[in-house]
Subunit: 741 residues, 2 copies
């Protein structure tokens, strides 16, 4: 399961010249999440030899914003692509999940049973869903760095960069149809402004039943072999004037500049695949200090706290079916997080990344010291980064527990958001914190309303109780002072104190009441503070610590935005070659090879799974509950244009060495001619630690084969309308001339 | 983990002629556990083409009892083989476990740390361990069947066969050095008398540390890929006169007729392997009624009861370290049983054996009915077998719970044994029940003493409590009447009644006292009954039901000994071809091919594992705790005669399509020239249901590669003495001329 919340733009800066990173290519095979303007710098001859039939301009042409990349869509957390001239979008099942959830009722659960709109009039609106289409991007490093005053300290540096970024974004979005973002590359070596068309009427066209689109569920999540038909179709609509608009019956399908053609040729072992998408976050240029903190403290503690929180929620879920429904997605999300963190630890350990980073850093330090000019430029960088990490580590346990309180208690989180909004709204827009500007408020409001669906007050209390008990066990030098003042007075044992405190807290709050909660959304800071709601009071009591933490974070980020670019610069001078920046939810181009792997001694994974495998796994019980229509179709042995010659069966999922991460979910995967052959939906278990370092031997991305998507459309759903709209690629409806308007 | 308690000889009979089963060969590849006298009837040309370099007489020569099979040793539950002229025996680690356990103390735990005798004087005695060497066998069908009076009913038939078998065995064993056994083939179509030399001074020579010999433990048990160095060495000793003798310092190494040569060539993909061993029990000629009963009732109920018993024992083990030690082997044994039964169910279900048996039986019935003479001979067979199974099924739940009471409570089992011995000893030897004759008493005594090591009274009570509660929930028509009279009087709820009963039961027994218990071993029935021990009284109360059950069982066995041979006969006439009898702990010859397999869609298992894989799995924590000496040796990259060319590493375990089951543990696996290439120690998970039907696609036996054994002897244990004794096959000590006396 690969999706990620959209990551906020990181702050940044430094003096180095970006162009230096665009030297001669020197990259490990298939590694690299390339910026679109790096594509021409890749080794075209090698790519051609591997099967690339496109020029860089056919992938992305900066002159007119055309090329394959203009068919790629960012859904916020997921990637998708246009596959028809009428704005039809294909993405993953789990990326269309919110749209299906929104349109579901207990009587008509679209998630369980799936959905296929019989015609365009029946395509279902999904307020809150957006599709962002790349219009273009530009380097704004100069504009950002100019804002930093000479001699600024780290905090001032942070503020200056943040202010510049906000101003650039605001002016970019002034027209109203665009969503803009300044992304920092290499931790602040350069800044790039991305302009995306913001399509906000996105409708659900087709989602297969959960027993197809989430076949294998949590059990198979991150695993290979996989048999997941993880696809869904959406459509972007615009106003009759062709401009982005809120949902209206009068809206018309959006006509994209470009849409992808469907390949009818399938994929073959060792063949070239191309990937365009929005990977969320990687940490490949982090130092050993960051690795150590993650491997030894953050991931293990996360796993422990998530495990305990899941346990508590499951107990609550057993008590009432209503609680079970409300807690389901949180439990699923936490389980995914635990599995991810465990995979990270396993991967970091088995790859001995910490040791090798230390070795590399020692070598780099030696190289830096070997030349006085270099020592002058870079000598301070690694020691300073180390001391920044040390500063963070000093209160890591406290901050983790504090963070978990807000992550797990929806009521405390709502109280905090309401306080913050009332505070920030009083300021001029450009002076607010990112995430609390006018552009962010509709999304905030939407979330505060939507939380009703997943709020079970008893569960909320149970997890907050767990975190308070955690807080009671924090060491002397990492106490959460406001809680010591409010809760842990030492009158009795901590559990008794916590229970007494929670009795009052939950008796004195009304935030579970949607009307009350939303009334505070519009209220002034004085009114929110004066509401005398006990949960608001708790949030208020914790606010000074949160603010102090944020100030420290700004100082640290300011320092890192000064140090990281130097570190990357030093690395680059030391190693040479073309470097790609860490993933940061900006669009990237990758290429890779269709290939299986050997997960452990004597085990080989074939690169493709088959419909037979679906039948093998099917138990009739979720998550291995194929719909009857699928079972019937699978057992029919008609000749079929979807068969793969290698396996003599309908292919389901396949592997490639593509370098991807969360956010790549739903990304189009194309053959050398740029035709769609699959949709990326996951990485293998062994790939998780690739967020830290790409291991070409074990890292694989998992795609649903486009032939399986069409087999489902044709044989299970009889979705002739969609097949025809996509040009009838397998000629099951009478040939390619069937394209409709 | 493949070992089995030795199975008692089954009773039997009928009129059919054995020779009819020796027609032209027609067998699925690699299936078949052939009797030694069937070897000449196998397709020699095909075997030669596949790589067999031996004549049937070189495998077993009935004229003088020579050939490879004379180097094969039965350990009772396991197989082994001679590998030196001085009686050196190689078998599995888990087969030498009892000998290591016997010689262990808390201060010197040979199981954990391993053991290597520095010289012959330090080889460790292991009272109770026997090595049986095949002397010869003969068909005794005529002698057995003659004993059955004309017109005998099923019970009389049973008694007559049992009596004849006892007489034949007694006269065979009269000399004193032989252990004899009459085995029924095809459920009674023929009877074969096996004569084995009974070597009763067997000593422990070398057992590797648990972190080698049981590497992977319960987690890897039944699994592939495997990295288990499952080997150990024993030595058989005899009196100075060369005859079997009890342990004495004056004994000398036994000099076997034949010992196996060690191959230095390794095994290759698709190469021929030979297997000689003592498979315990298969059920391939059972009908659909037996499959149904096993799949739907016996295995699931077993799993449930074992699971609950394990749970109870684990709770007890948590309470005291002493209990933990005493319960460890029972828990391990029960876990193995659960995993086995689950594998059986999985395999039976996924192979749809029940449906296909039913289909086959319907076809057979049709064929039988199509000819009046055939209908006359065989028409009654399937219906009668069905009604026998129905009779058994009527009280299946009651009998299962009853059986579990004795399986789980050692004290109740001891009480029952003491009662039974005192009763049977009063009879002339030939009139006693099998298992209670003079020849059996030393083993009985040994077990009654040895039980002290695994007896924790609180745990004994806890599991008996569990089973009594089970008994309380039995349906009206399957009640255990004596318990209803003694325990479930309906005065209060069952749990209270059980606890009150157990309070008295455990207060009133002294059977946990070894001296008291053993005093009853010699006592008369009157003295045992009159001991007024409460546990004896419970066993006495249950005795009538147990006896009634035994009588019913005798009648059923009598009927089956009449019906099964007819069923097999009919099958044979219908199908034609050469047939092998079900495994019954008699020596068998198999051949198979070195080959990996595909356990599920997109997963391929390679046929060989490597030392790299041991390092991959090693965690330092049991059961993945390789000794330091192994880790050090594994990381040394010296040139090595043990390397396999395919994997460029030391091979560890390998797979072949050999048809095996419990009892085959430790069996020698040989190449086409009869040289030892590995020791069979397990089957893969998918092979479990092969006890019911052999599936050549998925069934694999797992061997430890003899090269890994020698790598350990050489690089980890520096066991030059043993290497030299086996002829220095890898020439690490200076060549083949190093053979010692």
């Amino acid at each position: 399961m690969r999706s990620t919340a959209r990551r906020l733009a990181a702050p940044v800066l430094i003096t180095a010249v970006v162009l230096v990173l665009a030297a001669a290519p020197r990259v490990a095979a298939d590694e690299g999440m390339w910026l679109l303007d790096q594509i021409p710098k890749l080794d075209q001859a090698k790519l051609k030899a591997e099967g690339l039939e496109l020029t860089p301009q056919q992938i992305w042409n900066p002159a007119d914003g055309s090329g394959l990349a203009s068919a790629v869509v960012w859904l916020g957390g997921c990637t998708a692509s246009f596959v028809s001239p009428d704005g039809l979008i294909v993405t993953n099942h789990h990326c269309a999940f919110p749209a299906a959830q929104y349109n579901s009722t207990p009587e008509n659960n679209l998630i369980a049973s799936g959905f296929l709109a019989v015609d365009r009039d029946h395509e279902l609106p999904s307020p809150g869903s957006h599709a962002y289409v790349l219009e273009g991007f530009a380097d704004v490093t100069q504009r950002v760095l100019e804002a930093v005053p000479t001699g600024a300290d780290d905090t001032a540096r942070f503020k200056a960069v943040e202010g510049a970024v906000k101003r650039i974004v605001k002016s970019c979005e002034a027209g109203g149809d665009l969503r803009c973002r300044v992304a920092s590359m290499f931790g602040g070596l350069s800044y790039v402004l991305y302009r995306q068309l913001d399509l906000r009427d996105v409708r659900l066209v087709h989602i297969p039943a959960e027993g197809i689109g989430a076949f294998g569920g949590d059990i198979d999540n991150w695993m290979w072999p996989r048999h997941d038909g993880d696809y869904a179709f959406l459509r972007a609509y615009v106003g009759p004037d062709g401009k982005p608009a809120d949902y209206s019956k009068d809206n018309v399908p959006y006509r994209p500049k470009r849409y992808l053609r469907i390949s009818d040729r399938g994929v073959a072992r060792e063949s070239l695949t191309l990937l365009l998408g929005y990977p969320g976050r990687t940490m490949r240029y982090r130092t050993s200090y960051a690795v150590q903190q993650a491997e030894e403290v953050r991931y293990p503690e996360n796993i422990r706290l998530l495990g305990e929180a899941i346990h508590v929620l499951e107990l609550q879920s057993k008590k009432s079916p209503a609680a079970a429904i409300k807690n389901a997605s949180a439990i699923k999300y936490m389980n995914n997080g635990m599995k991810n963190n465990q995979g990270m630890i396993d991967g970091l350990r088995s790859s001995h990344l910490l040791e090798s980073k230390r070795r590399d850093e020692a070598e780099l330090a030696k190289w830096i010291e070997s030349d006085p000019a270099r020592a002058q430029r870079f000598g301070h960088v690694l020691p300073e980064i180390a001391s920044v990490h040390e500063e963070e580590a000093a209160t890591a346990r406290r901050d983790l527990v504090l963070g978990f309180m807000y992550r797990t208690s929806r009521l405390l989180s709502a109280a905090n958001t309401l306080l913050k909004i009332s505070e920030q709204r009083a300021k001029p827009d450009l002076e607010r914190e990112p995430g609390y500007m006018e552009r962010d408020l509709p999304r905030r409001r939407h979330r505060l309303m939507r939380m009703q669906r997943s709020l079970d007050v008893a569960s909320d209390r149970a997890v907050l109780r767990l975190m308070l008990l955690e807080a009671s066990r924090l060491p002397e030098d990492q106490r959460i002072q406001p809680l010591d003042a409010l809760v842990f007075k030492g009158d009795s044992d901590p559990a008794t104190e916590v229970d007494a405190f929670l009795d009052k807290l939950y008796a004195g709050t009304r935030l579970q009441d949607e009307d009350f909660r939303m009334s505070l959304f519009e209220a002034s800071r004085a009114d929110v503070v004066g509401s005398s709601d006990s949960m608001i009071e708790l949030a208020l009591a914790l606010e000074p610590l949160r603010k102090a933490n944020r100030q420290r974070e700004e100082k640290i980020e300011g320092a890192l935005s000064r140090l990281r670019p130097l570190y990357v610069q030093a690395l680059h001078e030391y190693r040479g070659g073309l470097m790609y920046p860490d993933a940061n939810s900006t669009i990237r181009f990758n290429y890779g090879t269709v290939r299986g792997y050997r997960p452990r001694d004597a085990v080989r994974y074939f690169w493709m799974t088959s419909l037979r495998g679906v039948l093998e796994k099917d138990t009739g019980v979720s998550p291995f509950n194929s719909p009857k229509a699928l079972l019937k179709a699978a057992r029919t042995t008609e000749p079929s244009p979807y068969l793969d010659n290698t396996i003599k069966d309908v292919p389901v999922d396949f592997l490639a060495t593509l370098d991807s991460t969360g956010g790549n979910s739903g990304s189009p995967v194309m053959n050398g001619a740029g035709e769609l052959v699959g949709l990326l939906f996951d990485g293998n278990y062994e790939s998780m630690a690739s967020d830290w370092r790409f291991d070409p031997v074990l890292t694989r991305s998992i795609m649903v084969d486009i032939r399986y998507v069409f087999w489902n459309l044709d044989r299970v759903y009889h979705a002739d309308r969609l097949i025809r709209e996509m040009g009838d690629p397998f000629r099951t409806l009478g040939g390619r001339d069937g394209v409709t308007k």
